[in-house]
Symmetry: C2
Subunit: 260 residues, 2 copies
């Protein structure tokens, strides 16, 4: 059981905080610039809210900085905890931004789309790193207490995973968003597409996505592509995305055909 101070009150702070609390760790304080948010999360975590840097206790084992990427370093410099462990939760930020604030530091990066209200049982793979072996061991134990999937990953590996996550999450979600906007304007129910979207995701457990690439672009069905493009004449962004990705997917087949 570790004593933890959580800095931040957003999605990562809330989800990780709940998991740490449920695993039996003591969240001794929750820091939030906004008092109300700090109080709310502290209430959930049986913890104490603070909104001033000077109020933060120096007795915790771990200070979890679950804040926006671009303020991690700044926040860490507010903490006067030279011999305690500072941990940030960002995929694309080096662990070394914490090196000025403490000798012991590390990373706990959840490769998941965290929302405050998400199902507690949702799998959250964690990627960890640390300043030294002893600190890594402690962060590993902490990570294992809240996730079944814990992997050590250095700055470069985490950044690469983050790039892959942008494609898997941000870009696929953008496709769903375009489909939803289109359905709304065309008086179709986007919910009709949810079984298809779920199946597309689910079957990745059994089949690599390269084997599931179907549709008009994949089979070179120019007639259907042309009809689709006509339907998108009033949707310039969608049409542009359609044409761009159709060209990219068509290239895959050319590569296959020529054996490249």
């Amino acid at each position: 059981m570790l004593n933890i101070v959580i800095i931040g009150t957003g999605n990562a702070a809330t989800v990780l905080g709940k998991k740490l609390c449920a695993a039996g760790h003591q969240i001794i304080q929750v820091y939030g610039r906004n008092k109300e948010n700090a109080q709310k999360l502290a209430g959930l975590l049986k913890s104490v809210p603070v909104s001033e840097w000077t109020e933060i206790l120096t007795t915790a084992d771990i200070y979890l900085l679950a804040v926006a990427d671009d303020v991690i370093e700044e926040v860490s410099n507010h903490l006067q905890v030279k011999n305690k462990i500072l941990v940030h939760t960002a995929g694309s930020v080096s662990k070394n931004v914490l090196s000025k604030a403490s000798e012991r530091f590390g990373v706990l990066y959840p490769l998941q789309s965290l929302r405050k209200e998400m199902e507690p049982l949702t799998a959250v793979p964690l990627f960890i790193d640390a300043s030294d072996e002893q600190t890594l061991k402690l962060i590993y134990e902490l990570a294992m207490s809240i996730s079944k999937q814990v992997t050590v990953a250095d700055d470069m590996e985490r950044m690469k995973l983050h790039v892959a996550a942008v494609f898997s999450n941000n870009f696929s979600n953008y496709m769903y968003m375009l489909a939803e906007q289109y359905c709304k304007k065309e008086n179709l129910h986007f919910k009709h597409l949810l079984p298809l979207i779920n199946e597309t995701a689910t079957k990745l457990q059994y089949n690599p996505p390269s084997l599931s690439q179907t549709g008009p672009a994949s089979r070179g069905d120019k007639k259907t592509i042309q009809r689709h493009e006509e339907l998108l004449n009033d949707y310039p962004t969608m049409k542009e995305v359609y044409q761009f990705l159709t060209a990219k997917i068509s290239e895959l087949n050319k590569e296959k055909d020529t054996g490249n």
Copy 2:
């Protein structure tokens, strides 16, 4: 209980055939140009395989043409069943391509990524259409016997749904494919991304995708975008897709900022 002849032995023929069989309909024949495939599917459906057009019985209530979009019309002309119901399963093909082969015809379009080996309980929304009211009623009953989600949709509506499906399925799968190829080349496990992909799909049940658009492009995080682009220098296609979609997602925020 209806007597059905299934034309085709691919994914749609197999999945719909299994569901029809399980619902108590009689699959009196399975036609497949390839004898082995016809035998295999007929075996699954307690049916009789045929591989010659002249062997097809004229006594079925419904002839289900689960074949590739571009051969539906040609296949229908092989069937000498003027007063029987012909049904195709394509999203982007007009019902009228069947009008030469019979007076009664229609469509049963499954808005799902069908695979022979898919879970029997996977939801398969069906979109139906027909030449006349009486035929529509029969196809509706048939559809309701194998799916909880049945909607009447004319040629234009089905084509629009198909466009939305291309974004939701083909294009999102292409994002997964790029992520998988990248992981493979960078010695990272694509399976680490599956919980994220599943959560991205699952949460659409509660949150519209427009509210789930996160990531560096969405928050205008130029520093991270630049680092990601550098990581993709050896992956020209991925880099191009990254830059294209990052620009598109960034435009969303500009629209929000200016109130458009």
